[in-house]
C-alpha cells in the first residue's frame, strides 16, 4: 500500500499531525529492544536466568526477522540444553572415568580415595554389570584408611564366594543390587552394619548388625556375611 497514494498520510502530513521516525532511528530502536526489555525486567525484579535466556532467543529471532512460535522456541531451548548437557557430560565422564553416580556417592568416594582407586581399577567390571555393587562403608569413629580396607575386604570376601566379578565398589544403575553399611568403633570393639538392597524395587534383601571383638574378627565375619549375601542374591535372582 505504501507504494500507492495513501490519502490518510497526505492528510496528516498536510496538517502536521504526522511525526515520521527516520528508518535509521527505527533500526536503532529495534536493535535495542531486547536490552530495554532486560533492563525493565531487572528493574522490576522479575528477571530470572531462565526467562532471560528465553527472552534473549525470542528477541534475537525477532531481530533476525525469523518467524518463530513459542513452542518452537521451547524446542530449540531444550535441544540446546540437551546438546550442551551432553557435551558437558561427555567431558565430565571422560575426566572422572567412573559411570554416572549420584552426588552423595561422589562425595563418599572423595572421602575414600583408596576405594576410588580400586573403583578405577575395576571400572571395566562395573560397566560389565557386577551382580552386587558395594557403596564404600561409612563410619564416624573409624579411621578412613581402615574403612577403605574393610570395604575392600568385604568386596574380596564376596568375590571369593560368589566369583571374581560378583561385586564391585562403586554405584552403578546397571546392577540389580547394592550393598551399603557402616562400621563404628566402641572402645576396642567394632559394630558392623551391612545392608543389601534390590535397586529395582528398593526392597532389603539382606541386613545384619553385629558386634566384633577386634578388627581381625570383623574381617573374618565378612566371609560369613559373604556366604549369606551370595545365597540370598542368587536365590532372589531365580
Amino acid at each position: 500500500m505504501n507504494r500507492f497514494r495513501d490519502p490518510m498520510k497526505e492528510l496528516l502530513r498536510m496538517y502536521h499531525l504526522d511525526t515520521p521516525v527516520p528508518p535509521e532511528v527505527r533500526k536503532y530502536f529495534l536493535s535495542r529492544m531486547g536490552r530495554v526489555f532486560s533492563r525493565v525486567m531487572k528493574t522490576t525484579g522479575s528477571y530470572s536466568p531462565i526467562f532471560g535466556f528465553f527472552s534473549f532467543l525470542y528477541f534475537l529471532f525477532k531481530k533476525l526477522g525469523v518467524v518463530i512460535h513459542l513452542k518452537m522456541l521451547l524446542g530449540i531451548a531444550i535441544m540446546t540444553a540437551l546438546l550442551g548437557g551432553g557435551i558437558a557430560g561427555y567431558f565430565f565422564l571422560d575426566t572422572v572415568k567412573v559411570p554416572a553416580q549420584s552426588d552423595r556417592t561422589q562425595q563418599k568416594i572423595h572421602r575414600y580415595p583408596n576405594a576410588l582407586a580400586k573403583t578405577e581399577e575395576s571400572s571395566h567390571r562395573v560397566r560389565a554389570a557386577a551382580a552386587i555393587i558395594i557403596e564404600p562403608l561409612e563410619s564416624g569413629s573409624v579411621d578412613k584408611a581402615v574403612m577403605t580396607r574393610l570395604t575392600n575386604s568385604l568386596s574380596d570376601a564376596l568375590n571369593a564366594v560368589g566369583g571374581s566379578s560378583f561385586s564391585s565398589i562403586a554405584v552403578s544403575c546397571q546392577s540389580k543390587y547394592s550393598l551399603s553399611g557402616y562400621v563404628e568403633k566402641m572402645e576396642e570393639k567394632f559394630i558392623a552394619f551391612i545392608r543389601v538392597v534390590d535397586n529395582r524395587n528398593s526392597s532389603i534383601l539382606f541386613v545384619t548388625r553385629e558386634k566384633f571383638e577386634s578388627l581381625d574378627e570383623l574381617e573374618k565375619g565378612y566371609s560369613r556375611f559373604a556366604g549369606d549375601i551370595v545365597t540370598r542374591v542368587r536365590g532372589h535372582g531365580r
Binding site: 500500500m1 505504501n2 495513501d6 490519502p7 490518510m8 498520510k9 497526505e10 492528510l11 496528516l12 498536510m14 496538517y15 502536521h16 499531525l17 504526522d18 511525526t19 515520521p20 521516525v21 532511528v25 527505527r26 536503532y28 530502536f29 529495534l30 535495542r32 529492544m33 530495554v36 526489555f37 533492563r39 525493565v40 525486567m41 528493574t43 522490576t44 525484579g45 522479575s46 526467562f51 527472552s55 525470542y58 528477541f59 525477532k62 526477522g65 513459542l70
Partner: protein
Amino acid sequence: MLSYENKKEFRQAYLKYYPFVFSAVYSKTGNREDAEDICHEVFIRFMENFMKIQKRSGWLRKAVTFEIGNYYGKKAYKVDDRADIDDYKNHSLHAVENCFQDTRMVIRDVIENEENFTSDIEMVLFELVSIYGFTLKEAAGYLKMTRWQAQYMYKKTTERILQALRKKGIKGLEDLL
C-alpha cells in the same frame, strides 16, 4: 510480581507496543538516549500495572506523555533547563501557526478517539503507519500479522476514520487536502 505465564504475556505485549511507544517518545523528544530512558520508565510502569490495564494503547499513550513530563521535569532540576521543557510542552501546539487550527483539532480528535477503532491493535497499526511512517510490512512484523492482513486492517480503519470525519462535517478529503 508477575507469574511466569504473565511474564510471557508481558513479553508479547512489549513486542507489540515497543515500536509504538518509542515512536511516540522519539517524535516528541528527538533524542535517542532520552527516548530510550523514557521507554524504560514507561514499560516499568506498564509492567507494574499490566494485569489491570484494559485498553493498552490508550494507557500507553497517556503514560508516554506523563513520563516525558516527568523525565524532563527531573532533568530540569539537574541542568536548570526549564525553558526547554516549556518549549517541548508548547511545541506541538505552536507547530502549525495560522494553519487550519480548527480542522486540525477535528482531525486530531478523530484519530485519537478510541471509539473509531475496533481493537487496540488496529489503533497501533494506524498510528505506526500513518503517523510514524512505518511501512505496512514493518508494522505487520511487530503486530504478528501478515502484510496482507495489515493492509486490509489499515484500509478498513482509514475508511472508518473518514466516515467519522464526515460526521464532523468534513465531507470529502478534497475539502481538506
